[in-house]
């Protein structure tokens, strides 16, 4: 009822979601591995399946600029990119968030050069973490489709009014075909209210956006309000999950999903497609080795699920955080934020940061289990371990 199973790549799942969200304006510049999103959307527009304007720009900087212009004019707008394209857009990411204009962007996460490398890691999107965009990581193509649709509702909620990024891992999701429930248009229409935004540019209505502030404190207050809106978004994300669940029967949890956490003493924390491998690692560690291990899947990195992390790790014996990117000399960004969250609540659970899978280096469930096992054994034997960052290449 209301759903139809289709086989879709992650990129086609994004395109399908964009169509279902009745987007008015699309603008993008091709980059591997995002390209098939743009190609599919162009086809939908040219076949008349999607009534939208497609602005085929000359760069990613212009892609986000065009989407920003369209959204400022009251249109629902979408773009997609990867890696260097995202970095080239970076200036505009700040401008869009600072303008409080809701737009949605898909980021197919890809390694940053040099050298040229098209495989997944999360350095590109982590580079955007301070811009004021919501950032959600997806684990499979179904979640990619669902979260893309949800992000339109969440970003256009007046408690939020911030742009949002939905990420999917290069090739692992973007070019891999999976069965996906495509909800009926009527369900999406029921889920997505007409577009709301704080202001619309219209002829004859003289408003001004972005001119120099008379009082610098106002400028600072704008940043503070983005900070607050990001916090408010937490509730909005949970509401969206609940409503979507009612309509299509799929719930993911809000900012996080916990897998086999109920009696867990040790936790794995991760984001994105390799969370699937982490589930296998958890099963293995529990069933073969009898270790009480659980998995915290961070679905939203922005806003950061501070409260969930504190809740789950409060009485835990240890945690291992997997990062697919690194801030040199500081550790992986998720690791750092988990530590900060715990410190803010006085939780002393030992945490190890594992940096792995950079540059697309393949990491198997066995690799993950091995990396976790070292820390878990240490914690079980000594009761604690030294907080540290480990570069892990997997394999032998």
């Amino acid at each position: 009822m209301g759903v139809a199973l289709k086989t879709l790549t992650g990129n086609y799942a994004v395109a399908t979601a964009v169509k279902l969200a009745r987007v008015n304006v699309i603008s993008a510049y091709p980059i591997t591995p995002q390209t098939t999103i743009v190609e599919k959307l162009a086809e939908m527009v040219e076949l008349g399946e999607l009534k939208a304007d497609m602005i085929r720009v000359e760069s990613e900087h212009s892609a986000l600029a065009a989407v920003y212009g369209a959204a400022s004019g009251g249109a629902r707008a979408f773009t997609a990119t990867s890696s260097h394209g995202l970095l080239y857009m970076h200036e505009m990411l700040w401008w869009v968030a600072g303008s409080r204009i809701p737009v949605v962007m898909a980021v197919v996460t890809r390694t940053i050069g040099p050298p040229w490398n098209i495989w997944t890691d999360h350095s590109d999107v982590m580079d955007q973490r301070d811009t004021g965009w919501l950032i959600t990581f997806t684990e499979n193509n179904q979640e990619t489709l669902d979260e893309t649709i949800k992000l339109f509702r969440i970003t256009e909620d007046e408690r939020v009014f911030l742009p949002g990024i939905v990420t999917l891992d290069a090739f692992i999701l973007s070019h891999t075909t999976e069965p996906v429930d495509v909800p009926d248009q009527s369900l999406v229409d029921a889920f997505l209210p007409p577009r709301k935004q704080p202001y619309v540019f219209r002829a004859g209505e003289p408003i001004i956006m972005g001119n120099i502030p008379r009082d610098l404190k106002w400028n600072m207050m704008m940043r503070e309000d983005i900070d607050k809106a990001m916090e408010r978004a937490k509730k909005v994300i949970e509401e969206a999950d609940l409503l979507w669940g009612k309509l299509v029967g799929r719930r993911y949890g809000g900012l996080t999903e916990c897998y086999r956490c109920e009696d867990a003493k040790h936790f794995i924390i991760g984001v994105g497609a390799w969370v699937g491998d982490m589930r296998e690692a958890v099963d293995y560690l529990r069933e073969k080795l009898g270790l009480r291990v659980g998995l915290i899947k961070i679905r939203y990195f922005r806003p950061f699920p501070r409260e969930d992390i504190i809740k789950w790790l409060n009485n835990a014996m240890s945690a291992v955080v997997f990062d697919r990117s690194v801030s040199p000399s500081a550790g992986g960004p998720i690791f750092v934020e988990v530590l900060a969250s715990l410190a803010s609540a006085g939780v002393r659970t030992p945490v190890r940061g594992v940096i792995a899978g950079l540059a697309g280096v393949d990491v198997t469930p066995e690799d993950i289990a091995n990396a976790v096992l070292t820390s878990v054994s240490e914690a079980e034997e000594l009761g604690t371990f030294k907080q540290s960052v480990l570069w892990f290449y997997g394999g032998e």
């Binding site: 008015n24 304006v25 603008s27 939208a52 304007d53 602005i55 085929r56 720009v57 000359e58 760069s59 900087h61 212009s62 892609a63 600029a65 065009a66 989407v67 920003y68 212009g69 369209a70 959204a71 400022s72 004019g73 009251g74 249109a75 707008a77 200036e91 505009m92 401008w95 540019f201 219209r202 002829a203 004859g204 209505e205 003289p206 408003i207 001004i208 956006m209 972005g210 001119n211 120099i212 502030p213 008379r214 106002w218």
Partner: protein, 296 residues
Amino acid sequence: MPINIKDLPKEKFVLPGDAACPGCPENMGLRFVGMALGSKAILVIPAGCTSIIQGLAPGSGLKFPILNVPFASSDSVAAGLSSAKKILGEDAVVVVWAGDGGTADIGFATLSGAAERNDDLIHICVDNEAYMNTGIQRSSQTPPGAWTTTTWLGKRERKKDLPLIMLMHRIPYVATASVAYPLDFIEKLRKASAIKGFKYIHLHAPCPVGWRFDPAYTVAVAKLAVETGMWILFEAEGGKVSISPPSKPYADKNRRKPIKEYIAMQGRFRNVTQELLTELEKQVDDNWSTLLKLAT
């Protein structure tokens, strides 16, 4: 159709309290944009002098809807905005108001992209021939011999011919204009606003601060640029080039005023040698010869 000054609308779009320097040509230009397009216009403005001129938030000295944007983004933002207005069925003339840097240099790839796609907007390049807002640094639009704070001995390179580059994008409308000839500029703006697609207008805008002349003489300097042939007013509708009336007499070299008169009014040219002056004269002849060939 020639415009009568008496028929121009009285509604003001440049309000008291703006932050322009005395004698600022950009303010004059914005006033003419208001007269030409009135409340149909939505302005997209990249960084530049007009970022300052419009005044401090939350107020504004300009009565247009204004979207301030980063340097290299303006034509794309305008393309998106224009597309939104079309899709939502709203009437608007989307105008990019950008300096020579925002147009010819840092903004050029975006400009060229939007022109090639024939996005429905008007790009006005308000050309004061250097990066004035950051303190008079050379641009690709600075003429040879001009002093700037990055060319202390005078710029050596020639001015990049943006209007002709835009003409070669085969867009429906290209024109040059000057703040000294408001009716010509207003007529061109109105013509452009009635055409669908990408329209480019290059407005010559002498800057008293950067060119080192008395702010009382902005119009006089702008006029001399035309009378000496240093700046040529023309338009091209559908690629058909015609010299505009104010410039027409100066197709004849003998009727042009000596370039020296134009140079002498501006401190930025104080070190210009006879040799460079001869070179400038040659370039003016060259520019005219190219345009006249296109106009026939």
